[in-house]
């Protein structure tokens, strides 16, 4: 097996192992909650059945009632799978989670396609979260690289120092707080953009792709701009650091000595050499923004996975909490895997070392 193939295979194996283990752990946690809920339901069902039995059979002796109670109890216990050993229940849940067979949610999720089917709720939510946060991250990277290269050309000036301070400050500001202020300013005070980022898409918009883009741009403006303001400076600053470091290396001096144009050196050599660390930063940023999403989505009223967590936690919907955790793990691991692969493609040393 070549080095490249081995690198990818080992990464994939690691990712699968992580998914399996996290699902195992969440399934264990889930089963504890589920067991408690199920016992409550068994008790309720048996009580009501026994009451009906007593009314329907007025001549039943206490022994009869007791026998009937035990019979119904064992029925419900096996119905909820409580007679199975905990290990086999955990394995069952793990298996069902892995194939995304979650069953039905406790309540109707109106913002997620008006359904109780957890699988379709989760898939809808994943798509929306990916839409909002991938867009924001891509914009951040694009603007960050442009700004970072610009700042790198001004090393040591006042502008450079100011950008550094700005990067640190914006990096420390929490998004769900800044977003609230942006909503207050742009939506309530100036009335420019809608305060809620998600509205059901009207049919005339859905038909026209151009309209659809406009619709999303208008509705997603506040969250995207908030994320840009808070993200782009720290992005630019990190890129500046990498680029400046690469500029001080010997190969740049050689290229300059060869008389190559500065633009060519910058884009063809320096940026190429700076790419791997930038991808590493992107890994951290994507995963970080995914967690930020959990809370920010509630604020922006964006019905993705974060909002789903919020709704499910408020309604004690255990299955949806489990499914959403699984979705997060999968999205997280996939994002990491993709970036690892990109990293491996960009930096040949990584492939060969393994």
């Amino acid at each position: 097996m070549s080095g490249t193939a081995r690198f990818f295979a080992s990464n994939l194996a690691n990712a699968l192992l992580v998914i399996f283990l996290t699902v195992l752990i969440t399934s264990t946690a889930f089963n504890f909650v589920h067991e408690k809920e199920a016992w409550g339901r068994v008790y309720e069902a048996v009580e009501s059945e026994v009451r009906r039995f007593v009314i329907e059979n007025p001549r039943a002796t206490p022994e009869d009632i007791e026998r009937y109670r035990q019979y119904r109890e064992s029925y419900w216990i096996s119905f909820y799978g409580l007679d199975q050993p905990i290990v086999s229940r955990i394995v069952m849940t793990t298996y069902r989670t892995l194939i995304m067979d979650f069953g039905e949610a406790r309540i109707l999720y109106t913002a997620y396609g008006h359904t109780k089917d957890v699988r379709s709720i989760i898939l809808t939510a994943m798509g929306r979260t990916a839409l909002l946060f991938t867009t924001a991250t891509l914009l951040n990277i694009a603007f960050g690289i442009l700004l970072g290269i610009f700042i790198a050309s001004k090393v040591g000036t006042a502008l450079d120092k100011a950008a550094g301070v700005l990067a640190m400050v914006t990096n420390a500001i929490p998004l769900y707080w800044f977003g609230a202020i942006m909503i207050w300013l742009l939506a309530y005070r100036l009335n420019l953009f809608p305060p809620a980022s998600w509205r059901p898409i009207p049919p005339y918009v859905a038909e026209n792709p151009l309209e659809l883009v406009r619709w999303f741009a208008w509705h997603m403006f506040i969250p995207i701009v908030s994320m840009l303001i808070l993200g782009v400076f720290s992005w630019a600053w990190s890129i500046r650091a990498v680029v400046v470091e690469k500029y001080s290396e010997d190969f740049v001096m050689v290229l300059r000595a060869k008389g190559l144009p500065e633009r060519y050196i910058r884009y063809r050599h320096v940026l190429r050499a700076a790419a791997p660390p930038i991808v590493t930063m992107a890994t951290l940023s994507v995963t970080g923004s995914l967690f930020g999403a959990i809370v920010s989505e509630v604020l922006f009223q964006w019905p993705g996975m974060g909002m789903l967590y919020y709704t499910a936690l408020r309604n004690n919907d255990t299955i949806v909490v489990l499914a959403d955790t699984y979705a997060f793990v999968v999205l997280f691991v996939i994002a990491k895997l993709l970036l690892d692969v990109v990293y491996g493609l960009l930096d040949p040393r990584i492939r060969i070392r393994r």
Partner: protein, 524 residues
């Protein structure tokens, strides 16, 4: 002096000198000092019950709801009534006041009937006084308050606060308001005083529903056009406007129209009659009138009436108590794990340890913490507090440090002095603890600083999702509460600034330590 010269050139002294010359480090240190002062100050100043029973506390009922800070009036030019306590200017036995009142009425009756004989009158008066005294003697007091009102926005509410050891002492309370324009408003504060009982025997006596109804029926509808009356009574009935606010406007009770634009300034006198369930001495009761104003303190209040300054201060203690211990513990565990793994580099021990670490590192922390917090809530009913949050974070937080420490330990292991120690027969534990770990210390301190804000943010996340202990006052609770009422800037802005500054301070400290100890970075 060899001793001092040695210490002057010792690496530790040099490092400190470099750090203290670094503006970033000093800024971080100053912010951290402010934060610690806030936390300690909050601990000393905020009453214990407000910190431990934060979610519901009788204190909050004595504060205005969603009130901006009073200093904001200097910026907006409004004149909001501040929240104040009034102590009574005079107190007398209730029976005397009552008898006096009854006699006034009686006297008018008698004189209109033509009875003017002094001796008869004084005998009747004695009689009346005797009867009233027998009924109420020792079982009630009348307190007289004076409130000088010169604001444009009236207070949200007025309440009588009685502090006594016996909570069931207060039976009922009524009041008479004498307005500056001579009008009188009578109202029963509350017929059965069981509304808000707190610890420490605080009894809050506020308006009865009966009074509100009477106010709407008798005063407002008689003096305004039907539409305004309807709007006003709706507002009062739904709790949007306190009946008190109506009392401070022009023309109330003088036969004209209620105008809700012009306030009547001047000194309002209030007599509160407090009836007690058993005979009591006047000194046993601590009575004050709480003017629940339309502005409050330094940072205003939230929607329940919690003092935002208290929450902010108590929250800074919580933030530091979660952030620093977690960062220290997780870095320590990760450091030892990484150093051990690195020391055994290449062996089976290292491979196994590394694989475990990699898997933990690849797990998404927050969804896990949410899932486990939810499981705890559903199975045992615990809502995570400081210790549980630290514990949950510790499950995952050590892995990143372990990876870095391992790679550093791998190269330290090859140093000649480690070789020499091995040759001298030093034990494995001794080599790890005395030769490898000290070399990792600068990285350790930088990493502690950089890890702290993350833990504070986790608490905020969990609070917004409603998974943390509701009685734990925190910045996260302030933000999550204020997100729905964004216009309450005094509520949402302070915790955000606090979180930002805390994050900045720890980042500054972490980066400057990293820069000072890593010569490669100093170049940039």
């Amino acid at each position: 002096m060899p001793r001092s010269s040695r210490s002057r050139y010792s690496p530790r002294y040099q490092l400190l000198r470099v750090l203290l010359r670094d503006r970033m480090f000093v800024t971080g240190l100053v912010i951290l000092a402010i934060l610690v002062t806030m936390a300690v100050g909050g601990y000393l100043w905020v009453p214990e019950d407000a910190r431990t029973r934060w979610y519901y506390n009788v204190r909050w009922t004595l504060n205005p709801k969603l009130a901006p800070p009073c200093w904001a009036d200097y910026l907006t030019g409004e004149g909001r009534a501040p929240t104040t306590n009034l102590t009574y200017v005079a107190v007398s036995e209730y029976w005397q006041v009552r008898a006096e009142e009854l006699w006034q009425v009686r006297y008018r009756e008698l004189t209109s009937l033509g009875i003017t004989d002094e001796s008869v009158l004084s005998r009747l008066r004695e009689d009346l006084y005797q009867r009233v005294r027998e009924e109420f003697g020792g079982r009630g007091f009348s307190y007289f308050f004076e409130y000088s009102y010169s604001f444009t926005t009236p207070p949200q509410d007025i309440a009588l606060v009685v502090r006594s050891l016996d909570r069931d002492l207060v039976a009922s309370a009524s009041a008479v308001l004498y307005r500056p324009d001579g009008a009188q408003v009578r109202f029963l504060l509350s017929d059965r005083v069981e509304l808000h009982r707190g610890e420490e025997g605080i009894v809050k006596v506020s308006f009865s529903k009966d009074f509100v109804e009477r106010l709407v029926r008798d005063y407002i509808s008689a003096r305004t056009d039907p539409e305004t009356a309807r709007v006003l009574s709706d507002q009062i009935n739904y709790g949007l406007r306190s009946p008190v606010s109506v009392l401070f406007y022009e023309d109330l009770g003088s036969g004209g129209r209620v105008s809700l634009s012009t306030p009547t300034h001047g000194t309002y006198r209030l007599r509160v009659d407090l009836l007690l369930s058993e005979p009591t001495e006047v000194g046993e009761l601590e009575v004050r009138l709480r003017v629940i104003g339309s502005c409050y303190g330094l940072l205003g209040t939230d929607d329940v009436g919690r003092d935002n300054l208290w929450t902010l201060l108590a929250g800074s203690a919580i933030a530091l108590l979660i952030g620093l211990p977690y960062a220290l513990a997780s870095r320590l565990v990760g450091l030892l794990y990484g150093a051990t793994s690195g020391f055994f580099g290449g062996t089976v021990v290292d491979v196994v340890m590394q694989r475990i670490c990699e898997i933990v590192y690849a797990m998404p922390t927050l969804p896990f913490i949410i899932m486990i917090s939810y499981t705890l809530r559903e199975t045992t009913g615990t809502q995570v507090g400081i210790f549980q949050i630290i514990g949950l974070l510790l499950l995952f937080g050590w892995s990143g440090v372990a990876i870095v420490s391992r790679s550093m330990a791998l190269s330290i292991r090859e140093e000649p002095y480690v070789e020499a120690a091995k040759a001298m027969g030093a034990s494995r534990a001794r080599i790890i603890l005395r030769y490898i770990v000290p070399q990792l210390m600068p990285y350790f301190f930088a990493s502690v600083m950089l890890a702290t804000p993350g833990a504070i943010l986790t608490e905020v996340f969990l609070s917004i999702l409603g998974l943390t202990d509701p009685n734990m006052p925190s910045w996260g609770k302030m933000i999550s509460g204020a997100q729905l009422t964004v216009h309450a800037w005094w509520w949402i802005i302070p915790p955000g600034i606090a979180i930002t500054l805390t994050g900045l301070a720890f980042m500054f400290l972490g980066y400057s330590i990293e820069n000072a100890t890593n010569p490669k970075r100093r170049r940039l």
